[in-house]
Symmetry: C2
Amino acid sequence: MRLAALSAAIVPLASLQAEDGYDLWLRHAPLEGESLARLQAHDGEIVALNPDEPTVALAISELRAGLDGLLGKADRAAQTGSYTAFRFDCDHPAIAPGGAFRITPADRLLSIDAAEPVGCLYASYAILRELGQGADPSTLALDSAPAMPLRMLNHWDNPDGHVERGYAGRSIFDWWHLPERLDQRMIDYARANASVGINGVVVNNVNARAFMLEPRYIAKFARLADAWRPYGIRVYLSARFSAPMDIGGLTTSDPLDPQVAAWWRAKADEIYTAIPDFGGFLVKANSEGQPGPQDYSRTHADGANMLAEGLGDRGTVIWRAFVYSAEDETDRTKQAYAEFVPLDGQFADNVIVQVKNGPLDFQPREPFHPLFGAMPKTKLMFEGQITKEYLGFASHLAYLAPLWKEVLGADTGRGGPVTKSVAQVIAPAGMAGVANTGSDRDWTGSDFDQANWYAFGRLAWNPALSSESIAREWAAQTFTRDPQALGTITAMMQGSREAVVRYMTPLGLAHVMDTGHHYGPGPWVCDLARPDWNPCYYHRADGEGIGFDRTPAGSDALAQYAPDVTAQWADPATVDPRYLLWFHRVRWDRVMPSGRSLWADLVHEYDAGVAAVDALARDWQTLAPHIDAQRHRAVAENLAIQQVEARWWRNASLAYWQSLHGLPLPAGAAPIPESLADYQRRAFPEAPGQ
Amino acid sequence: MRLAALSAAIVPLASLQAEDGYDLWLRHAPLEGESLARLQAHDGEIVALNPDEPTVALAISELRAGLDGLLGKADRAAQTGSYTAFRFDCDHPAIAPGGAFRITPADRLLSIDAAEPVGCLYASYAILRELGQGADPSTLALDSAPAMPLRMLNHWDNPDGHVERGYAGRSIFDWWHLPERLDQRMIDYARANASVGINGVVVNNVNARAFMLEPRYIAKFARLADAWRPYGIRVYLSARFSAPMDIGGLTTSDPLDPQVAAWWRAKADEIYTAIPDFGGFLVKANSEGQPGPQDYSRTHADGANMLAEGLGDRGTVIWRAFVYSAEDETDRTKQAYAEFVPLDGQFADNVIVQVKNGPLDFQPREPFHPLFGAMPKTKLMFEGQITKEYLGFASHLAYLAPLWKEVLGADTGRGGPVTKSVAQVIAPAGMAGVANTGSDRDWTGSDFDQANWYAFGRLAWNPALSSESIAREWAAQTFTRDPQALGTITAMMQGSREAVVRYMTPLGLAHVMDTGHHYGPGPWVCDLARPDWNPCYYHRADGEGIGFDRTPAGSDALAQYAPDVTAQWADPATVDPRYLLWFHRVRWDRVMPSGRSLWADLVHEYDAGVAAVDALARDWQTLAPHIDAQRHRAVAENLAIQQVEARWWRNASLAYWQSLHGLPLPAGAAPIPESLADYQRRAFPEAPGQ
C-alpha cells in the first residue's frame, strides 16, 4: 500500500489570495518596500476640530481603516505614532463649499482643510487613493474642487428587484425588507460612491411605478437617506407624472390643474418631513409610453415647472430630454432638439434638463448631443450609461472613460466668442450615470466594469482627468501596483471601447443590435412596429450602399449643430471616419482614404476589432503572476466570451451586408463560418436586462 | 481651536469581526483554550492511498484548510507536525459503498476508511464538524452511512434568473455566462452541499422551459457537472413533458408514440455524451397547467416509464405526485392519492415518485402525506420545502427540522406487522428539498435560513438525528461555541416553527395566506377562479364554526390513511389539537379541553405565537456579546420585522373571524388596532418569489 503525502496547496503570496471583488477599489492592499516605509514613518494620530460630527468621524475612520490596510496591520489596534500625522479642519473659511478640499504637507503632518465635513471625507479618500498608488505622504499636496455640483447615479432598478439594462444580478436595493432591515451593502455602496465624489442617487427606474411615492416607500427611502447622509449622498426619486391619478385619486395629471399642483406640493412636503435633504425628482415624461404634460397639450416646461414649484427651494427637478414620439416620421435623433430648444428660458431655476451623451441612445459611439450648447438659458445635465446595454453587457471589456471624454471634450461651437465644450456647458448642473450595480458579489457583473463606475465618478468630479490616468489609478487600487502590469492593464483598458466599436458598429454605424435585449447582432431586423426601433432604420443598407444621410439632402439632423461643427461633418470626404455612416450614406464601392473600397474598409474594421479582443486575451494571460487566481480566471473567462462574441458580431454583420450587395470578402479575409440564416436563427429569450 | 484625537473604532475580538454569512457553517473559526491545545497536539500530515484522485484530493485539501482555520493559522504555510495525523483509505473493502465512512482514533492518528472517495470527502467534513464543536481528536470515532441514496436539492430557478418562491435574491446559476464562465459561487455551493451529504441537484424549476434541453444549455449543465463531480454531486434536470413538440418539431408528446420515445432517448443520449453521470429528469406533469401524459389519456406511469426507458440504467426519472386537476370537485388534498395509488406496481425500476411532506402544499403544519406507505411497490421520495413560501419568507425565523422530523417520524400505519415510519418508506429512494439559495451574500436571505439548508442535508443523511442536535451543531459552526449562547440559540430555533404555526395557522388551519405571493394573511380571499385556490376553501369558516370536515361526514380524506392513523384523528374530542381544524369542522363555542371555547383557544394560540416571537427578539438581544455586529444586527432587524408581522397575522386573522361570528375578544386579549377593511386593503404587488 503506497501512502503518499499531499501537502495542501500553498498560496505563495498573501496579496494574491482569492478575492471576489466586493471591496472594489477600496481594498487598500498592503504597501511594500519604500512606499510602505515612507508611510510607516508618517503614520500617527488623526485629529480633527469637530471629530464627533458624523461626516468628520467618517473622514477619520475611513482614513484610519485605509491607512491600516496600506500599512498591512492585521490587528487594527496595533500601535501608531503618538504624534499628530493628519489634521482635519472641516470648517475652513478659505476653502470653497461644495466638497472642495486642500491637503498641505508639512513636517510629518498632512493638514486637510475643507469648508464642510464632506470635503474632509473626500480628502480622506483622495489621500488613500494617492498613497495607494505609492505617493509619498511627506510631499502629498492636493487642491481639489468638484467641477460640477451634481454627480449622480441613476438606478433603473424596479421595486421587484429587476434592473432594467442590469447585467450584475438583481437590484442592490432591498425594498422588500426596508425600512426595518438595512443591508450592509447600502453602507458599502455609499462608501464607494463617496470615494469618487458621487453625491446624489436616483434610487428607482425612470420608468417609474407610482406606488413608490406612497408612505410605505417613503419610509424606506428615509432609512436609506439616513444611512447615506454622512457620506454626503442625497436621495432622489424617479416620479411618474401620472401619480396624482395613479395613487392620488385625482382624475387628471394636467400640470396646470391646481389640484394636481397641490397634490405634488403635498407629496413633496410629506417627503421632506421624512427626508429633510431629499434631492428631488427625476422625470421621464412623454417618452416611450410614459405619461407626461403633453397628454394635456402642455409643454415639458409646464410639467417640470409645476413639480419644481412643489419642491420649492428644497430640491431639484431633473427632466429628461430623451423623448421621441411614435407619430414623428422624421429622424429620431432630431426630436429632442426639436422639442426642447423652443423651451429654452422657460424652465424654472430649480429645473435641470438631463441630456444623453448622444442624440440616439448610448451607442458604442455617437456624436455629442446637439442640445449641448443649444439651450444657453437652461441648466443641462449630462446623462451617460455606465451599464453596458449596447456594449456587450458585463462580459465584454469596454472601459468607458474614453467614450465620455470624447463627448465631454467636444467643442459645441456655441457659447460665445470662446465656444464651450460639453463639459463647460454642463458645469453649472452635473452628470448622471445609469448605474451598473447589482447583487453580484463584484457589484458590476465583472471586475473591469467596476472601472466604469469609478471613472464616471472621477470624471464628474474633474472632466479634465485623462482616461489613462483614471484607468491607471483604478487598476493600481484594484489589481496590482506592479508598474509593468499596470502599464499592460491600462493599455488594455484604453483600447477596449474602440475594439467594441470596431466589431459592433464600425465607421459610425449604430443600433444594429438585436431587438429588445440588444444582445448580439441584428442588422437584418426590419419588422418592428415602429420604424425607429429597427436596425434597418439606422443603417439604411441596401445593394448600393449603407449609412444614414443626415445632411441637408437627407434628414438634415446635421443642421442642429453649430455651423463650425456642421462644417466638420458635412462632407463624406473629410468627415471624421468614426462618424462617416452616422451622417452619410456611402456607396459600397466608394474609394476610401485608405485606397480600399468602403466594403473592404468595413471588413477591415470588424477584423481589427476581433484582433484587438484577441490581444486583450493574450495580454491578460501575461498578468497571471500579478492577479489573484479567482479574479484572474473570472476576467479570462469573460475575455473568452468576448473573443467568441466579437467573431459572432463580425461574421453575422458581414454575412448580412453580403446578402445585400453580393460582393466577395476582400482577399485574405477570414471566411464566414455559418450562413446568414444560422445567425438569424439564434434566439436568446432569457437575455438579461429586458 | 480644540483639536481632539479620535481613535478609530477598535474591534475587541478577532472572532467578532463583521461577517456577511457567505462562509455558511464552513467558517472553521479558530478554536480556543483546551480544544485548541488538543488539536494543536494532534495536528500533522494528511496522507492518502490515492491522493491525486480528484475527490480524495478534495478530501485532503478541505480537511487541511478546515484544520488551519480551526487552528487559527493566518499563514497557510505554517508548520504542521511532520508525522501522519490523518490517514485516508478511500478504497476500503469493509465499508459499504454510497458515501459511508469510518473514523477510528489511535495514538495521534485518525484513520479514515471509506469504500469510495466521496466517503472520504464526507469524512473530512464530519471531522471538521466534530472538531468545530470542540471534540477531542484523540477519541474521535465515527461510523456513518447515509440513510437513503438520493439526497437532493430542487431549484425552482428560471433561466432568466428569477427564482420561484425565492427570497434570497436572484438565482445562483449564471446561465447567461455559462459554459464559458464558472462563478466561484458554483464551487462554494458544491462544498456546502457536500459538507452535509447532498449528492444531487435539480438545477431548474419544475415549471420547466423546454429550451433548457437544447444543446446551448446542455453545454452549460456539463460545465456545472464537471465542477461538481469531485464533490459527489450529480446534475439532474427538470424536463418539460411537451419538449418533443416545443423544441423537437414533433406534433405530439404522447408517451406511447414511438417518435416521442425516440426523441427522448436521443435527447438522453445527447446529454449523456456531455455528462456521463447525468442523474436524470424531474417531471411535474399534469399539474397546475403543466403538460403531461394525461393530455393524451395516458397515465403518469406511461409518461414516467417512457422517459425512464430513454434514460435506461444511466439515470432516474423522478415524477412528482403534486397533482390536482381543475375539474376535480372533491377535496384537493385527496387527489394525489387518488391518482397514484392505482398505479402502484406499474412504474419502471428507475422511476421514483416524489411526494410532498403533506397532502396540500408546504404549509406551516400538515399531517403527513397519505401516499407514504400506500404504494409499497413504488419507490417514494420525500419532497420538503427549504425555502419558506408559507412560513414568512426569509425574514421570519422558522427552523424547519422539527417540521420535517414530525413527518419523517410519523408512523404510516402500513408496511407490515411492524409498521413503517415515513423515513422508512422513503429509505430506498431519498429526500428532495426545494432550495432556499439565492444571490444574497448570505445565500439564503437570512443567517438563520442557512440552518434549514444545513438541517435538510443532515436529516437526509440521517433522519434519526434530533432537531435539537442539528441546531446545536449548526449554531456552533455558524455563530459561536459559547455553551450558554449555544443553548439560547438552540432553544430559539427549536421553538421557532411552532411560533409561526401559532400566529399564522393555529389548530390545524392551512393556506390562509394572501393570494399569489402567499405573503401575509388573507383568510377573507374567496373570489379566485378555482375554489381550491381560495383560503375560504380551506378554513370553511362562517358564523357557526371553522375547519375542513375531512371525516366520512365530509370529504373523507381521512380514509386515505391507514386504519390506526385514521382512528387517531377521527374524533374531534381526541384528535391531536395540532390537526383539529385540518380534519374537523368545529363550532366557535365548542368547549375545548382547556375549558375555553374554540374561539378563545384560537385567540390564545395567536397570542402565544406573538409572545414567542417577542421572546425570540429578547433572547437574541442577550447574544450581542457573542455574535459579530453585522450578523447580530441583521438577525435583530429580521426579528423586528417578524414581531410586526406576527401581530399583523394575529390581528388581521382575528378581525376576519370576528366579522363572521361577531363574538368579542376574550377578556384580557389585546384589542385589534385596525379595522378588517384596513387589513384587507394592504397590497404588495412587488412581493418576491411570484
